[in-house]
Amino acid sequence: MPTSAIELRGLAKSFGDVIAVNNIHLDVYDGEFLTLLGPSGSGKTTVLRMIAGFEPPTGGTIKLDGVDVTKTPANKRDVNTVFQDYALFPHMSVQENVEYGLRVKGVDKESRVKQARDALEGVALAELGSRKPSQLSGGQRQRVALARALVNKPKVLLLDEPLGALDLKLRQQMQSELKQIQRDVGITFVFVTHDQEEALVMSDRIAVFNEGKIEQIDTAANIYEHPKTSFVAGFVGSSNMFSSEVAGKLFGIAKSFSLRPEKISIDSSGSAERSISGLVSDVEYLGPMTRYVVDVQGIQIIVLEQNENDRFSDVSSRKGSSVKLSWRFDSEQLLENFSG
């Protein structure tokens, strides 16, 4: 059993009549990259802000490294935050921003200049120390915010959708960089995002939030491959979801399950454990993959197929044709909680 950097017990937060966070229990292990994933308003950011100390909980306790910090003010907690809008001080240079945490802790000038330079080097911005934040690009600001947090060598780094404001290409690049930095410094990362692709690529574990509660918490692969509820199956990646009535009608089994579109083969010649025929009603070309919508007795089934060769002309001609869909039993993921 790994030791816990953070322990949340019965954590709750209400704003007036609105319950934002509802009785959360969560252990964040030492050195792991944990992602809090969920739609906006699901409580993930509020949990992060309570760990940082910006919001007092209305119930429950927060332990950092075994010590109860529920009533400790933010400036006395050994955690640092990377904000969604970066929150760089506009009147300070990049170097001064990074030095600020050390300055208020009373680190002497010489030492903090050196540490801040090292931190900026760590994010490949050593030569931009004298610029103002307004003179930086979005990606550069993001890196400064990271350096400003990491220079304090916190026990835990909290990241509040730090990549949300970046372009797609830049976001993908920063995802690898962040992951690499986390491995290098060995600090526990708690990362908030609503982007499930980002969560799958970066995380050791993912906690999926829904309406103030944790719906499922597990490794990225397990969350994706074995979603326990229809909410998780639908929010993390896309899924075909069959209620027990539909499953009964189509396959003669009375259980609700989800099925990932990429687990389904079209007109496969190999052996399959489950198969059914349908009519291709739509074909969408996505570049690396093609997305089919197949009508099976009035039920729309989504299928994803890799474009292994330049088959674009083949695949578009499939529209309107009859196909056989097949998959293995172990691709069917039983749902504990089916809704919608």
Binding site: F54, N75, D85, F89, Y100, N152
Partner: protein, 278 residues
């Protein structure tokens, strides 16, 4: 639209641009020119002959030099005290008070603006009256003499008069300050005091500059408050007032002193972006 100003815009601008050039600055230019004229001591008429005598008189007489210093001192003190009071008051209004009490506080801050200038100054005269004034009665049990009329009373009264003009821009600046900057400072280990000093104050600088332009300029031109609660103290406004009927060119030269000082000061303030905040 900012790229292609068309005819409609130009037509709309004709009136105000005329005002700006012909009247707004014409009036100031007239003043500058008058300062270089002189007065015939017999007829008391302005003589249109160029002379530097007025400026030489102003700068050679130590009484005027002292008046200038006193005026700048009063305007500076009023501005600084206004900043010291307005900062925490605005902070409370913009960041701590609930939305309902915030609106009430704003209304309260604005209400005294509508009371007559004279009434407010006379209220303060009543406060500062030696022996019988409110202040004297309050301080006597403590064994302290009331300061009575004088520069102290002038500074207090002017601060009272111009405080709302400082509160409003600072309040607006604080309302626009992102919460995340305060969170970030606290997150990095700064105490409330450090956050105020290192983050809030520097970011409010343009708003404070804007408020200072208002309080400083309003204090600078004042000559009535000093007459009513200033005792024997004189400010530049009084010198101008006394000379207006007798020697207009000399009064104009005295009046130019703060303009010259301010042109320099403004150039400095402008660079810091005061005007983006007001």
């Amino acid at each position: 639209m900012s790229v292609n100003p068309n005819k409609a815009v130009v037509k709309l601008l004709a009136l105000p641009i005329t005002w700006l050039v012909a009247v707004y600055f014409g009036s100031l230019a007239l003043l500058l020119i008058t300062a270089f004229f002189t007065v015939d001591s017999f007829t008391n008429q302005v003589v249109h002959v160029f002379t530097l005598n007025n400026f030489i008189d102003v700068f050679s007489d130590s009484a005027y030099f002292k008046s200038t210093l006193r005026t700048l001192g009063v305007a500076t003190s009023v501005t600084i005290i206004c900043i010291l009071i307005a900062l925490p008051m605005s902070f409370y209004m913009a960041r701590i008070a609930s939305k309902a009490s915030r609106n009430i506080l704003i209304a309260l801050v604005l209400t005294p603006l509508w009371a007559s200038y004279l009434v407010k100054v006379y209220s303060w005269r009543t406060m500062f009256t030696p022996e019988t004034g409110v202040l004297a009665s309050l301080l006597r049990p403590l064994g302290i003499d009331s300061p009575g009329y004088g520069l102290f009373a002038v500074v207090v009264t002017l601060t009272y008069l111009w405080l709302p003009y400082m509160i409003l821009p600072i309040y607006a600046g604080l309302e626009r300050l992102p919460n995340s900057l305060l969170d970030a400072s606290s997150d990095l280990g700064a105490s409330t005091r450090q956050t105020l000093k290192d983050v809030v104050l520097p970011i409010l600088k343009p708003a404070i500059n804007a408020g200072s332009i208002f309080t400083f300029s309003l204090s600078l031109g004042d000559y009535i408050t000093v007459q009513i609660v200033g005792g024997k103290s004189q400010m530049l406004g009084n010198v101008v007032y006394q000379n207006f009927q007798l020697n207009l060119p000399f009064a104009a030269a005295v009046a130019m002193i703060p303009v010259l000082i301010m042109v320099g000061y403004l150039t400095a303030v402008r660079r810091s972006g005061a005007l983006e905040n007001l």
